[in-house]
């Protein structure tokens, strides 16, 4: 990100099976989040490739200058990454990252608004609204639909963020320290929710530095010196 180039990940190789719950542990600054961002197509690796369902996620490497230019805006690779983020991936951030101008329902619904045009929304809107209400009911926020993020607790915000990540029924849910900003009780609730999703067959990749949280996963990996190794 900065002016000095850091080699955060090297010779990393990870394969996640359908329905698997993988936890990646590591010290602060070890590159866990960077790994998750690359896996979820939020960031672009300088080298290497990520495959999803057998298809490469990234185009051949290009310089950073070019990546932030108009060629990237219009490139097929970016369109593919957008499509994956919109339909196949869901992402839960440590700091929730809810949009403060929107209420709870709208924060979830926005993830369903990305694809359709204004005209298509007329026909799809009510179904999307129903899905968003259902998922919010599932995370226990059916009474808070009209509340703004500023009116919610940290745990509630994280549940809204999870609902947003799940509303389009993603193949993989990426969670970046989902309990890192919560108290013990709220964290336990979130983990119970993730465990329940996993039991239902949801593929989850989570990074955490908390071994207790990582225990919920099928497989735990450690990231040290840019390399992944089994726990």
């Amino acid at each position: 990100m900065g002016r000095t180039e850091l080699r955060v990940l090297r010779d990393c190789s990870l394969s996640v099976a359908d329905g698997e719950f993988v936890a990646v542990m590591g010290k602060s600054g070890s590159g866990k989040s960077t790994l998750l961002h690359i896996l979820s197509a939020l960031d672009v690796p300088q080298k290497g490739q990520v495959h999803f369902a057998g298809e490469p996620v990234f185009a051949p490497p290009v310089s950073r200058r070019l990546r932030t230019s108009i060629t990237d805006v219009l490139s097929a690779a970016e369109r593919r990454r957008n499509h994956l983020r919109r339909t196949q991936f869901g992402f839960v951030f440590q700091f929730y990252h809810l949009l403060p101008e929107l209420n709870v329902l709208e924060n979830v619904l926005i993830a369903r608004m990305i694809d359709p045009s204004v005209l298509a929304w007329w026909s799809q809107g009510s179904a999307a609204r129903g899905d968003a209400t259902d998922i919010l009911k599932r995370v226990g926020l059916s009474e808070r639909l009209k509340h703004r993020p500023s009116e919610l607790s940290g745990g509630e915000c994280q549940r809204v963020a999870m609902a947003r990540a799940l509303v389009h029924k993603p193949k993989i849910l990426f969670a970046d320290e989902p309990t890192g900003n919560l108290d013990a009780e709220a964290g336990a609730n979130i983990m119970a929710l993730l465990a329940e999703l996993h039991r239902e067959g949801q593929t989850i990749v989570m990074v955490t530095h908390d071994p207790g949280i990582a225990q919920h996963a099928d497989r735990i990996l450690h990231l040290e010196n840019g390399r992944l190794r089994p726990a």
Partner: protein
């Protein structure tokens, strides 16, 4: 869908956007007001230039005028392009309204300089829009003429049944119906049958009294007989004079006029026959009767111009035909032809299906006039030859180019200046949107993390800029249109507050009212430019938002 949704939400929730909208609103309103007033002024200048002129004007710009106009008019009247041609005489003079005191002496109650125009009323009415501005001719058709006339007095209908009225004690008495002399009463009935209503005059006591009596209104002001006798024509016959309305009436703030004098009142013109045959010009004092008043809406015309009969004025100014006298021998050696100051010509649009080219026609008219110099039928002296040499024919646009072109340039200049000032709004939108992008960097990361494309994110801010432009342009158009619509009322209110706050001086801008019409094409252009400018102002912010990497945005502090 998310682009429109977030754009509208940011518009509603980010109050800073209201400042951008307010800036666009003010800029649009400002440019619209300026363009409407300047454009309206330009249109009025063109109308003024056109209204009292023919399609083609023959003139030599000399105070002495030019001879052989009758021969010229006779000759061109046979041309298929010519509908009508009429000569005019222009001069300057002093007008005076007087009133008689009880001791029989008179005193001047109003005087001023006047531009005196001699015209043949019927011909001029066929050539241009002069007739449409005549007040009494509108309400009493056929009664306005410039020949000898007396003053019409309102009298009482002694033959008809009286109108029953109650006095202060409740006793009923008969009141004779007030009527005008028969010709005027018949003309009034004719106009009233055609639903011609007087909306130009301020309400006065006489009008209210007639209304109370149940008598149809008598537009204008007439003297009433002193003896409760029948209506009649009174006073010595004098030539008629049409005066500019601002000479004989006061304009009220609602645009209506209150006349000071009754129709037919005597008015004296003092002229200076400098263009005459006499070696030593002398002043001529001539009484006229106020036959009608003319309204063009152009202050400098309505406050200065008076119109009398062409032949009469020509004679007064000694521009009519006269003996040519040898200065050395004192003997009559021929006839000096009559002269006029100008010829106005109405032309047809098409001849044999082909459009008439007015400029080419002007060249032909000039050639014809100049050919008189070598025509053996006419015996012209050196002065007359010089006057004919200077005769030019021009279209009405050419003749008024010295007025129209500067106003057109002024309009363009002022519009450009205010357009440049409006760039401030664009800069403001740029700053505000850039600030919003900085504030919303994390939101941009979130939108990208859920699949929003770079183009989509950029589109949010482009749409935002366009929405600010649309909202500002609509509000600005409404505000500007309202201000333009009520601009004269606003000025009247300012003048009422303090006379020095007058912003539109009729003496400077030529017109007594500020143009108050918004042209649709102006409004559409301004709205389009405002939306475009606002959208352009959002490009830099949109570019930054669009090219931001999601992770970079999410980590932004």
């Amino acid at each position: 869908m998310y682009k429109l949704f977030l754009t509208l939400r940011y518009l509603r929730k980010r109050r800073i956007a209201y400042f951008a909208i307010a800036a666009v609103t003010l800029c649009v309103a400002m440019v619209l007001i300026v363009m409407s007033v300047m454009g309206g002024w330009l249109e009025m200048v063109k109308l003024r230039a056109r209204g009292l002129l023919g399609d083609v004007i023959v003139d030599n710009k000399a105070f002495q005028g030019f001879p052989l106009y009758e021969e010229f008019i006779d000759e061109i009247s046979g041309w298929p392009e010519i509908v009508k041609a009429t000569p005019l005489v222009y001069s300057y003079g002093l007008f005076q309204f007087r009133q008689t005191l009880r001791d029989g002496t008179t005193q001047v109650i109003q005087d001023g300089m006047a531009r005196v125009v001699g015209l043949r009323l019927e011909d001029v009415c066929e050539i241009n829009a002069f007739k449409e501005g005549l007040f009494y001719e509108k309400h009493y058709p056929g009664t306005t003429h410039l020949g000898e006339q007396q003053q019409p007095l309102i009298g009482y209908d002694l033959a008809g049944d009286p109108i029953p009225l109650k006095d202060e004690d409740g006793a009923i008495f008969g009141y004779r119906r007030p009527i005008l002399p028969p010709a005027y009463q018949a003309a009034l009935a004719e106009s009233q049958a055609q639903d011609v209503v007087d909306t130009e005059s301020a309400e006065d006591e006489n009008a209210r009294f007639l209304e109370e009596l149940g008598v149809p209104p008598m537009p204008g002001v007439y003297r009433i007989v002193d003896d409760f006798g029948p209506p009649r024509m009174a006073g010595d016959p004098r030539p008629g004079l049409i005066l500019g309305r601002d000479i004989v009436a006061k304009r009220h703030s609602d645009g209506r006029h209150e006349r000071h004098y009754p129709r037919g009142k005597m008015v004296t013109l003092t002229l200076w026959a400098t263009a005459g045959h006499s070696v030593d010009p002398f002043p001529i004092k001539q009484p006229f009767r106020y036959a009608d008043d003319s309204y063009t809406g152009i202050f400098e015309i309505d406050s200065q111009y008076v119109y009398c009969d062409f032949d009469h004025l020509q004679k007064l100014l000694e521009m009519d035909e006269a003996d040519r006298i040898d200065r050395e021998t004192g003997q009559v050696i021929g006839k000096a032809p009559a002269r006029c100051s100008q010829i106005q010509i109405k032309i047809t649009q098409r001849v044999d299906g082909k459009p008439v080219d007015p400029v080419a026609l002007c060249r032909r008219l000039e050639e014809l006039y100049h050919s008189y110099l070598s025509d053996e039928r006419f015996q012209l002296d050196l002065t007359e030859r010089k006057l004919i040499t200077r005769v030019e024919a021009m279209t009405w646009q050419e003749s008024q180019a010295h007025i129209i072109v500067p106003v057109e340039k002024e309009k363009i200049l002022v519009t450009i200046l205010f357009g440049i000032i409006s760039l401030v709004a664009v800069a403001l939108i740029l700053c505000i949107l850039y600030m919003i992008v900085l504030q919303k960097t994390r939101d941009i990361g979130v939108i990208k993390s859920i699949g929003g494309s770079s183009g989509g994110v950029a589109a949010i801010f482009i749409t935002y800029g366009a929405a600010v432009g649309i909202a500002g342009a609509v509000l600005g158009t409404i505000l500007g249109s309202l201000v333009v619509h009520y601009i004269n009322d606003l000025q009247d209110a300012l003048i009422w507050f303090h006379p020095s706050l007058r912003v539109w001086d009729p003496a400077v801008y030529s017109f007594d009212t500020i143009p108050s019409e918004v042209r649709t094409v102006d409004a559409v252009c301004i709205v389009a430019v405002a939306i475009l400018a606002s959208t352009v102002g959002s490009v830099a912010a949109a570019w930054r938002a669009g090219t931001m990497q999601p992770v970079e945005a999410l980590r932004y502090e």
